[in-house]
C-alpha cells in the first residue's frame, strides 16, 4: 500500500486551488488568502508541538514575532535581502524556540508551568518590543517592509501573494508528511506517556526540545511570510490577542490533526474579516464565547468531530510491518547480570531502602517479595533509572549505570514493565510494538527517515502469538482489556534487544488460572531466550510456580534470600507476613 499517494494528491489539489484562487479572486481577497495562510503556518507549528507532542505552548508567537521583526529589519535595510530574511527567520525562529525548550524541558516542568512560562515570555517580549525603541521602533513598530525580492526580482502584490500561499502550503504539507511518519507516532507516545517512552529507550527531553525547535522554525517561516504580506510589524505581534487567537484556531479546527488547525485558521479569519467591519466589538466578544463553548462542548475540535460523525478516525494508523529480528551474535554476557550494592534511598527524612545489596550472577527467574511498603517497586525503579538514590551503586551487565536516566538503562537492554500497565492508548497494538522496537536506537533525525517496518525480537512476537494479541494488531491499545494490556506491555518490554526483564506485579488483576498461565509463559520465555527476569510479586501460588530464587524485602531492609522452600520456612519471613512476634 502506498500511503504517499492520497497525500500527494491533497498537496497538488491545494496548490492548484491556491494558484486558481490567486488568479481569479480580486486583489483584496487573494491578499487575505495569503495572509491567512501565513497564519495557518503558525497554527500548524502550534499543532506540531501541542496537538502532536502534547507541549502546551502559549508562546508560539515568540519565534513568529522575532522572525517577523528580523525580516522587517533586514528587508527595510536592504530590500534585495528578501530571501536571506526568509531563511534567517526560519533559523532565528528555531534558535528562539531551542533556548525556550532548553529552559522548559530539561527540568520536566509540568504541562501547566510550560504553558505559563511560554505565555509570560511572549507577553514580556511585547513589552520589550514596546520599550526598546531604537531597535524595534517602539509602539508604532517597523513600517514600510518592502515586498519579497527573489534574486533581485521585485515581486508584484499579486505575485507575492502567490509565493506566500505556495510556500505556506508546502510548509503545511511538510508537517503533515512528518507526523504521518513513525516520528508522528513517537510524538503521540510522548504526549500520552513520557514514562513509558523513556522505558522504551527514547530520550524524551531531547525529542521534546527538538520538536519544539522544529515548531519554532515553522513559526519563524510563518512570521516572515506574515510580515511581507502585511508590510509592517508592531509589538502586538507578541500580544495577548494574537497569542490567544492562534490557540483558538488550533483548538476549534482540531489539534492533533494538521488539516484541523488550517481549517480553523481560514474559517475564523474569513468569518472575522467578513463580520469585523460592521460588528467588530461583538465579533471579538463572540470569539471569547466560542472559546468557552468549544472547550466545554467540542474539546477535540471541529475536524475530528466531523470525521467522527462520518465514522472515520482523525488519525490514519501506520500498520507497520513487524519483522522478526535476526538473532545477532551476542558478545559474552557480562557478569554479574544485576549488581546493586549498598543501596540507600531516602525521601526527605524517610528511609525507603537501607543498605540493600542484590546480585544476580546467572540468568535466573528471581522474585522480589515483601509486605506493602517494603520498598520493592522503589527498588525496581532504581534498577531501571526511573528514580535516583542517594548511596550505593547499580551495575547491570557490567555497565555502571548509577544515577543514569531511564532511557540509558533501556539502551543497555534493561526493560521494564510497570505495575499499572502503561501502553500508548491511541496507538494500535502493532504501533506500540514498533515504537518499543525503534526506541533503543532512536534519534530525532533518524525517526523522520524511519521506515514502516520494525525489527521485533522473537520473544516479543512469541508473547503476542501466545496471548492472542497477534490477531488484534490493528486495534487501538486503549480498547484492550486489563490483562491484554499487561501482555502488550511485556511484549513492548521485549521488543528491542532485551537482556534483563524487570516486571512489577505482572499478575495483578488476573484470575488464579490466568496467573498460572502467566507463570508458564514467563518460564518459557526465560528458558527459550536464557533471559534473566526479576519479578515483584505478592501471589505465593504464582511465585512457587515461577521462581528459581526469592529475595524478601521488609521495611526497606533485606530479610531473606534463597529458594522458595528456604524462604517460606524462614521464621523471620513468616513473622513479617503473619505478624508473629519474634
Amino acid at each position: 500500500m502506498n500511503l504517499a499517494t492520497p497525500r500527494k494528491a491533497w498537496l497538488l489539489m491545494s496548490l492548484g486551488a491556491a494558484v486558481a484562487l490567486n488568479l481569479t479572486l480580486g486583489e483584496f481577497r487573494s491578499g487575505q488568502l495569503s495572509l491567512f495562510l501565513s497564519l495557518a503556518v503558525l497554527a500548524v507549528s502550534l499543532d506540531l508541538v501541542w496537538g502532536q507532542a502534547g507541549i502546551l505552548s502559549l508562546g508560539q508567537l515568540l519565534p513568529f514575532g522575532v522572525a517577523a521583526y528580523l525580516s522587517a529589519k533586514l528587508s527595510i535595510a536592504q530590500p534585495t535581502l528578501g530571501l536571506v530574511a526568509v531563511f534567517g527567520s526560519v533559523v532565528v525562529g528555531a534558535a528562539v524556540s531551542y533556548l525556550v525548550g532548553l529552559a522548559a524541558f530539561r527540568r520536566r516542568l509540568s504541562l501547566i508551568v510550560v504553558g505559563l512560562l511560554t505565555f509570560m515570555l511572549s507577553l514580556m517580549f511585547e513589552q520589550i518590543a514596546e520599550q526598546w525603541r531604537d531597535v524595534t521602533g517602539g509602539f508604532t513598530g517597523l513600517t514600510g517592509v518592502p515586498r519579497l525580492n527573489i534574486f533581485g526580482y521585485q515581486t508584484s502584490d499579486r505575485g507575492q501573494d502567490l509565493v506566500i500561499s505556495v510556500v505556506a502550503i508546502l510548509a503545511i504539507g511538510a508537517v503533515a508528511w512528518l507526523v504521518s511518519r513513525p516520528f508522528g507516532a513517537v510524538l503521540i507516545g510522548i504526549r500520552e506517556n513520557e514514562r513509558r517512552m523513556e522505558a522504551c529507550g527514547y530520550h524524551v527531553t531531547h525529542l521534546k526540545i527538538w520538536t519544539f525547535t522544529l515548531g519554532g522554525a515553522i513559526a519563524g517561516l510563518g512570521g516572515t511570510l506574515y510580515v511581507h504580506r502585511t508590510g509592517f510589524v508592531s509589538p502586538g505581534i507578541f500580544g495577548f490577542t494574537l497569542a490567544t487567537n492562534v490557540v483558538l484556531w488550533t483548538l476549534i479546527g482540531g489539534r492533533g490533526t494538521v488539516v484541523g488547525p488550517v481549517v480553523g485558521t481560514l474559517l475564523i479569519n474569513f468569518l472575522s474579516a467578513a463580520l469585523a467591519d460592521a460588528w467588530l466589538q461583538y465579533w471579538v466578544l463572540a470569539t471569547g464565547l466560542i472559546f468557552i463553548v468549544a472547550v466545554i462542548l467540542v474539546p477535540q475540535g471541529l475536524v475530528p468531530a466531523l470525521l467522527g460523525l462520518v465514522g472515520r478516525p482523525a488519525r490514519k494508523t501506520l500498520e507497520p510491518d513487524l519483522v522478526e529480528r535476526p538473532v545477532d551474535e551476542r558478545d559474552e554476557r557480562a557478569s554479574p547480570i544485576i549488581d546493586a550494592s549498598n543501596i540507600e534511598k531516602r525521601f526527605g527524612s524517610f528511609t525507603v531502602l537501607a543498605d540493600i545489596s542484590l546480585q544476580m550472577e546467572t540468568p535466573e527467574l528471581r522474585c522480589l517479595i515483601g509486605p506493602n511498603g517494603a520498598g520493592k517497586t522503589t527498588f525496581l525503579d532504581l534498577l531501571c533509572g526511573q528514580q535516583s538514590h542517594q548511596e550505593g551503586d547499580v551495575s547491570l551487565l557490567g555497565h555502571r549505570l548509577t544515577s543514569k536516566p531511564a532511557w540509558q538503562f533501556a539502551r543497555h537492554g534493561i526493560s521494564r514493565k510497570f505495575q499499572a500497565p502503561q501502553v500508548i492508548d491511541p496507538l494500535t497494538v502493532a504501533e506500540n510494538i514498533a515504537i518499543a522496537a525503534w526506541g533503543p536506537t532512536a534519534w530525532p533525525l533518524a525517526l523522520a527517515a524511519q521506515s514502516w517496518s520494525a525489527q521485533v525480537a522473537q520473544g516479543s512476537l512469541q508473547v503476542l502469538s501466545q496471548t492472542g494479541l497477534d490477531a488484534r494488531l490493528n486495534d487501538a491499545a486503549g480498547e484492550l482489556s486489563h490483562g491484554e494490556k499487561q501482555w502488550l506491555e511485556i511484549a513492548m518490554a521485549m521488543a528491542g534487544d532485551c537482556r534483563v526483564l524487570l516486571l512489577d506485579e505482572p499478575t495483578a488483576g488476573m484470575t488464579v488460572a490466568e496467573s498460572l498461565r502467566a507463570a508458564e509463559l514467563l518460564r518459557q520465555l526465560h528458558s527459550d531466550f536464557d533471559l534473566p527476569i526479576l519479578i515483584v510479586e505478592h501471589d505465593m501460588a504464582f511465585i512457587r510456580a515461577v521462581a528459581d530464587r526469592v529475595t524478601v524485602l521488609a521495611r526497606g531492609a533485606l530479610l531473606a534470600d534463597g529458594t522458595v522452600d528456604v524462604v517460606e520456612s524462614d521464621p523471620a519471613v513468616r513473622a513479617v507476613y503473619l505478624g508473629q512476634a519474634h
Binding site: L56, L58, A103, A104, R106, R107, R108, L109, S110, L111, I112, V113, G115, L116, L117, F119, M120, L121, L123, M124, Q127, I128, Q131, W132, F240, T244, V247, L248, L251, Q281, Y282, V284, L285, T287, G288, L289, I290, F291, I292, V295, I296, P299
Partner: protein, 304 residues
C-alpha cells in the same frame, strides 16, 4: 511591568514638581508600592492555582472589573473608600458564579482551564469595551498631596495603597492558613475525594475559594484605579508580573506569594534604578527561568 502606568505617572509628576526628593529613598518607596500591588494581584492567582490547580488567565480582567467598580462608585457620587469593599463583594459574587458555571466543568483537565479562562478574559474585556468604550476613565485620588516620610515627600495615596494591600494580603493568608475554612480548603487540596467522603462540601468550598481569589483582585483594581487610567486593557498590564511572582514564589505554600512579590519587586526596582525598563524586563525573565531551573519542583518556587 506591574503598575507600569502608575510608575510613569509618578515619575512625570516628579520631574516638574515642587517635591524635593531623594532619588534612592523614593525608589525604595516605589519598590514597596510595587511589592504591595504585586502581592495583592498575585495572591488571588496563587490561591486559585495552588489550591485548585487552575491557571486563571482572566485574573487580570478581575482587576479591571475592580477598577471599573471604583469608577462607577465615583460616578454614583460615593466615596472612593466605599469602592474598595464594594469591589470585593462584586468580584466575590462574580468569581463564585464563574466557578459554578464554567470552571467546575473542567477541573480534571488543567489545559482546558487555561483555554476556557482565555476565552473568559476576552469576554470580560470586550464587555467592558461595549459598556464603557475604550476611552480612558479616571478615578479621582481621594487623598491628593504628599506626606513626608524618611526625609522625602511621597504621595499620600500610595501609602494608603500599601497599607490596604498589605492588610488584605495578611488577612487572606491568615484565613487560608489559620481558620477552619482554611483547614477545609487544605483538606480538599490534599485529597478531594477523601475530603468529600469526610463530609466536606467540596463544591461550595471551591466556589468560595475562587470567589475570594477574585475578590482580592477586585480590591487590587479599586486600589490602583486612582493611580492611572481605567480602561478595558488595564488587566493585561498586571498579568505577566503576577505570573512571575507565582513562579518565583511557588504555590506549595501561600506565603511564597508574598516572598515572591518581594523578590520580583526588588529585582525590578533595582534594575529600573540602575539601568532601564527594558533591562528590568530581561532581568525578570531571567529570574523566572533561573527559578524554574533550580526550584525543587514545579510547584515550589525559590522560597516556598
Amino acid at each position: 511591568m506591574v503598575g507600569r502606568r502608575a510608575d510613569h505617572r509618578l515619575r512625570s509628576k516628579r520631574k516638574g514638581s515642587v517635591f524635593v526628593v531623594d532619588a534612592l529613598t523614593s525608589e525604595i518607596l516605589n519598590g514597596v508600592g510595587s511589592f504591595a500591588t504585586l502581592a495583592i494581584v498575585a495572591l488571588g492567582l496563587g490561591i486559585v492555582f495552588g489550591l485548585m490547580g487552575v491557571i486563571n488567565l482572566a485574573h487580570g480582567e478581575f482587576v479591571m472589573v475592580g477598577a471599573y467598580v471604583a469608577f462607577m462608585v465615583q460616578e454614583a457620587g460615593r466615596s472612593h473608600w466605599l469602592a474598595i469593599p464594594i469591589a470585593a463583594i462584586v468580584l466575590l459574587l462574580l468569581g463564585g458564579m464563574i466557578e459554578l458555571a464554567l470552571i467546575r466543568r473542567i477541573y480534571q483537565r488543567p489545559e482546558l482551564t487555561i483555554l476556557a479562562t482565555f476565552g473568559l478574559s476576552i469576554v470580560l474585556r470586550q464587555l467592558a469595551e461595549l459598556i464603557f468604550t475604550k476611552d480612558f476613565r479616571s478615578v479621582v485620588n481621594p487623598v491628593p498631596g504628599a506626606t513626608p516620610a524618611l526625609g522625602v515627600l511621597y504621595p499620600t495615596y500610595r501609602f494608603v495603597l500599601i497599607a490596604v494591600a498589605v492588610t488584605v494580603v495578611v488577612v487572606t493568608l491568615l484565613t487560608f492558613t489559620r481558620s477552619q475554612f482554611g483547614l477545609t480548603v487544605q483538606a480538599i487540596v490534599a485529597d478531594r475525594e477523601l475530603a468529600e467522603s469526610a463530609g466536606i462540601r467540596t463544591s461550595v468550598v471551591n466556589s468560595l475559594a475562587f470567589g475570594i481569589g477574585a475578590a482580592t483582585a477586585g480590591v487590587a483594581g479599586a486600589l490602583v484605579a486612582p493611580l492611572g487610567a481605567v480602561e478595558p486593557q488595564i488587566g493585561l498590564t498586571y498579568l505577566p508580573g503576577a505570573f512571575l511572582v507565582v513562579i518565583v514564589g511557588g504555590v506549595s505554600r501561600l506565603w511564597g506569594v508574598v516572598l515572591g512579590a518581594g523578590i520580583v519587586a526588588a529585582v525590578q526596582t533595582g534594575a529600573i534604578h540602575f539601568a532601564d525598563a527594558v533591562l528590568a524586563q530581561i532581568v525578570s525573565l531571567l529570574l523566572a527561568v533561573v527559578v524554574l531551573q533550580f526550584g525543587r519542583s514545579s510547584r515550589s518556587g525559590l522560597v516556598a
